[in-house]
């Protein structure tokens, strides 16, 4: 491949993406002006959202706070649910990967639970915990656990026979084999699972907050919908998207490090 000079790289990586964003904004302006009068245009959206973006950490009331403050609440909630998902999902995946009998017994259940929507888990969480906060965390965990479970299991199953032979010749004990061979060998797969799980956890947060009315980006979005401030819907959507993108990028950084190692 030919080495590109600095100007060309800047064009590829900065100018072209900006152009894309610009084109979407123009399209958005045209659509809101012609086809969909209910959709607020870009300029109006900016005017109405300015306060939330420019002082992002202000707290003016329970449901009237800067957008990054809301984001922070949501992130904390996601972190709790996500940690729970990893705490349950990783050992479950290891067991599935190591034992055929375990896979035969539990794989069908997992395949059945996996596609269940967060909208279905949340009411069950409310019934179980009686309070919205743990119900939301429960929902996040139940939805985001599966990629971790499946990828961890896949990672353990695809450990090269070579490494297993080394462990066998050395007569490593079960726990040592897990610690010294299985976990490090499966780690890149596990991290792919962790990254996908985080994506889902973030996806679920909106649903969880909408139904429970908890303060956060999703709760804010739902409240502004009810208050007919549609500009804020767009602000929330953009925020959710950007945060999700950043989270994914951060996780891929770690993932790629592990792949090289």
């Amino acid at each position: 491949m030919q080495e590109k000079n600095f100007g060309q790289r800047a064009f590829d990586n900065v100018v072209l993406p900006m152009l894309g964003v610009g084109m979407v904004i123009v399209l958005w302006a045209i659509v809101s002006a012609t086809l969909a009068p209910a959709l607020p245009g870009p300029w109006k959206t900016w005017q109405v959202s300015k306060l939330y973006v420019l002082s992002p950490f202000d707290k003016r009331g329970e449901l009237d706070q800067g957008i990054l403050r809301f984001t922070w609440y949501s992130l904390v909630r996601v972190a709790k649910g996500y940690s729970l998902a990893l705490l349950i999902g990783t050992p479950l995946g290891l067991l599935l990967g190591m034992s055929q009998a375990f896979t035969r017994s539990f794989d069908p259940i997992i395949q059945i639970l996996r596609p269940v929507s967060p909208l279905a888990w949340l009411p069950l969480g409310l019934v179980l915990f009686q309070k919205p906060e743990p119900a939301g965390i429960f929902t996040i965990a139940m939805c985001s656990m599966w990629p971790t479970v499946l990828n961890t299991a896949l990672g353990v199953r695809s450990i090269p026979q070579d490494y297993i032979n080394v462990a066998r010749v050395l007569q490593l004990s079960r726990s040592k084999r897990l610690l010294k061979i299985t976990l490090p060998a499966a780690l890149p797969y596990m991290f792919t699972g962790f990254r996908l799980s985080l994506g889902i956890a973030w996806l679920v947060i909106v649903a969880a907050e909408m139904l429970t009315g908890a303060p956060g980006v999703g709760g804010f979005l739902w409240q502004e919908y009810n208050s007919l401030i549609y500009e804020h819907l767009i602000l929330c959507i953009a925020t959710i998207g950007i945060v999700g993108f950043v989270l994914d990028r951060l996780m891929s950084l770690v993932e790629n490090k592990l792949k090289v190692a």
């Binding site: 066998r168 010749v169 050395l170 007569q171 061979i181 490090p184 190692a261």
Partner: protein, 279 residues
């Protein structure tokens, strides 16, 4: 008493019509301190043979005994240098060797284990690269790490599965000399698997050819009566070397030719499962 003894060992893979017999009726004995080379074609079943001796797979019939006891499973007293080296890519050179040392000599003090590790890394000349990961090493260096790891386990029997076959001819020659040195220093019982007749003659006390598969058999054992240390240059003009080389190669080629005849000949109808793989 031989340290290793194979009697009538047979091994095949698959079931029913898919079944292919790989090794048939192998008999082999290794005396303590002896270096025996098994030379054979690619795909003849050399790795299969090593796996069985290591205890990683079990023969279908026949018996393998090590130090008078039947082999039941793998163990560090029969260390293997795998054909693919099998280094753990997330560990450095030192950690790879140390994993084995820590396991085999768990009763030693940590300082002694570390010294033992360093000693064996130095033995294969890799002290400068001891903190590198396998991915940062050349093929020859990886091979030496694998040898260091196996030697550090101080096994009774060292199984070397084509340790040099993945290397280019020049590196290979250098490492052969180095391997010869290490083998002589360690004085261990070694089974060397190779597809290179010259390498076998350079290193071994005895050469056993393995027929072309399927259903490969071991040929007659040929002892290498050439004094050590053997110099590869002088060896090239040594009549004993030439004779031995011709013997081994003729035997192997003959077995390959017979195999072709066997495969092309119209098959007699028989009730017993055919040794040939079904097409």
């Amino acid at each position: 008493m031989p340290i290793l003894e194979l009697k009538g060992v047979c091994k095949g893979y698959g079931h029913g019509a898919q079944r292919s017999e790989v090794l048939r009726n192998l008999d082999l004995q290794l005396e303590r301190g002896e270096l025996v080379a098994v030379v054979g074609f690619s795909g003849a079943g050399k790795t299969t043979l090593v796996s069985m001796i290591a205890g990683l797979t079990t023969p279908d019939s026949g018996s393998i005994s090590f130090e008078g006891k039947a082999v039941r499973g793998p163990g560090p007293e029969r260390a293997v240098v795998f054909q693919s080296y099998s280094l753990l890519p997330w560990l450095s050179v030192r950690q790879n060797v140390k994993l084995a040392v820590d396991q085999v000599f768990a009763h030693w003090t940590p300082a002694r284990r570390l010294a033992h590790t360093e000693h064996h890394i130095a033995l294969v000349g890799l002290s400068a690269a001891r903190d590198k990961k396998p991915a940062e090493l050349s093929g020859g260096m990886r091979q030496r790490v694998a040898v260091a790891r196996a030697l550090a386990m101080e096994p009774e029997l060292l199984l070397l599965d084509e340790p040099l076959s993945a290397l280019d001819a020049l590196t290979r020659a250098t490492l052969q000399d180095e391997l010869a040195r290490i083998c002589q220093v360690s004085g261990k019982t070694i089974l060397l698997i190779t597809n290179d007749v010259d390498e076998a003659i350079l290193l071994a006390d005895r050469i056993v050819p393995l027929d072309a598969g399927p259903a490969a058999k071991l040929g007659p054992s040929l002892s290498v009566d050439i004094e050590r240390p053997r110099d590869r240059k002088a060896l090239n003009h040594d009549p004993r070397f030439k004779r031995l080389r011709a013997q081994v190669i003729d035997y192997l080629l003959e077995s390959g030719r017979k195999r072709k005849q066997r495969l092309c000949a119209p098959k007699p109808i028989e009730m017993s499962p055919s040794p040939e793989p079904a097409r």
